[in-house]
Amino acid sequence: MSDTTDIKISTRDFDLFYGGKQALRGITVDMYRNHVTALIGPSGCGKTSFLRALNRMNDLIDGVRIAGTVTIDGVDIYDRNVDVVELRKRVGMVFQKSNPFAKSVYDNVAYGPRVNGIRDRARLDEIVERSLRSAALWEEVKDRLRDSALGLSGGQQQRLCIARCLAVNPDILLMDEPASALDPLSTAKIEELIFELKRNYTIVIVTHNMQQAARVSDYTAFFYLGELVEYNRTETIFTNPRQKQTEEYVTGRFG
């Protein structure tokens, strides 16, 4: 963590409770601009809860309480004055299960811009094309923009979801196991895409796949039982971890 790259997301003593159950304890971490941060850890360790806390998706769940701070670009996102809708435009999210709307490919990508008030046909066309190109999907779907998005393959759907995210011009992309339901080829495409996207975006990715974390990320955070066990450069985590738990996990000894 000796890097001097500027800090995009930073949390301090962040706790999260589902009702009476504490899901995250005292998470303190800094994530860097234009880098990929991977969150790893066994199931139920709080990675996804943490990820969803970063764009306040947890607000949708009843009985969630938080303590501590999460700041993005120096602004506490849990502050009273923060507009959640605005926050979510800045912090896009790609879900584990690809979840395109039951609309055409075009309408899926245009949805974000439309809800933000862009009606102009030419602008929408441009946004859709550029988003799909950024998500490396344009060549595959350019002839079927009017077809239902549900007709695409799993990998294409997931890239469509990424394109849909990009269309609202976020700074940060949160990815919750984006490749867990995909075959190796689609996974490779998504990973290439992540590598491309980090030039323009700050990416936080949850993954169960150790190799994937090692391949795509610059920093890795290891969560266990709601706590952040270790956070460091990915090479360090995978080659020379400080904590024994981390070593056992990344070498596949437990979890």
Partner: protein
Amino acid sequence: MWIREEWEGQTCGGETMSEWQTHEAGERIVPRPYAERFALPDERTGNGWPSPNRFLRHRPLAGKKRFDFGEFAAEYVIRGIALLSICAIFGIFYYVFQESRWAFRGGGESVQETAGAGSRGNENAQAASGAGQEEEIRPQTYGLPETAGESAAETGASGVSREADAIEEGRRTSLHSETSGNDEPVTLERLLLPNDIIDNEPRYVWQPISVVPKYSFVPLFVGALKVTLVGISIAAPVAILAALFMTTFAPRWLREIMKPAIEILAGFPSVVIGFFCLITVASVIQEITGATYRLNALVGGIGMSIAVIPIIFTVVEDSLSTVPRHMREASIALGASRWQTAWRVVLPAAAPGVFAAVILGIGRAFGETMIALMATGNAAQVSWNILESVRTMSATIGAEMAEVEFHSVHYGVLFLIGTVLFVVTFSLNAFAEFVVRKRLIKRFQGR
């Protein structure tokens, strides 16, 4: 590493495994082979490991099949009841349908004897002969008789010009004595075309027990349509918005109170709703609109909407809450507000269900009897003013069936109304199910 070894143990099988064990036994702890750890019942695998369940004995695969009389009986009883209920429904339809034949045949004992075949020709002949015998002419008798020109009858365009002819012919053929006059068989023409002239204008009149009975379906149909339209145009938006609110915005405690409350309303006796409309709503509406008639289509429509809202609400709520959560989340994560999400993602995804709910509501409102009977004023007239009294088809049956002469024309006509009600509801539902809903599903769910 552990995982890898177990995997190899499985793929290599016992033989290879043991070789491998001897090969490296000194260096590592080797896990038991896969087949041993998940031992199948011993008589099948013969691997010597005890089965976890020694009580279950497998019977030969190709042996005699087990027969359980309880299962067999239950299956056939259920199947029988299902078939029986379907038969009962068709039986009712058939009964209503065949009772309406009296409308075309005419009642009276004499007719019953002669009109065995019940064909149109017989009726005509009979009507004509009846007219020949009776010379009595009464004033104000403008009833349209049946005419021979069946093809011309269907067009109905030349209404007024044909009127004169019709009246002429009416004088000749359709005038009967008191007794048989009431039982003159009807034709489609008389049910659907103008059957009276008042102030030189052709009118549709429902006067089933006047000296010359007039059975025009038009005012009844218009009345039912008016009340249904008013009812559904109040109920559909209210119910859909309520369901949307309930699934998307309402906090959980409110949802837990409101949902059962509205659903209980669905079981509310319609008499009570009718009574409420008759006493309270009618006064309020008259106060507000200054309507001449206290009981009118608007009041009836409001009553209908009270009856229909819970039904639409329940179905819409169900279909909204089956919209996958991840779709909602995707929209929220794109910076859509809750309203935008509800309106642009959740509602379209649930569109087929919403549509089905509205159709269900229309069917219910169209057939609803008690509220119509109590709150609409029951005046059969053709007008599109919702502040005038109306008489609906179902209310007509409800009001007149108890006093009608058995197997008279009037009796048959009432059953005919029943048939029409059934056909309308049935075709509405069929249309909804097979045409529109499929298209909506294709459009909104991409299947």
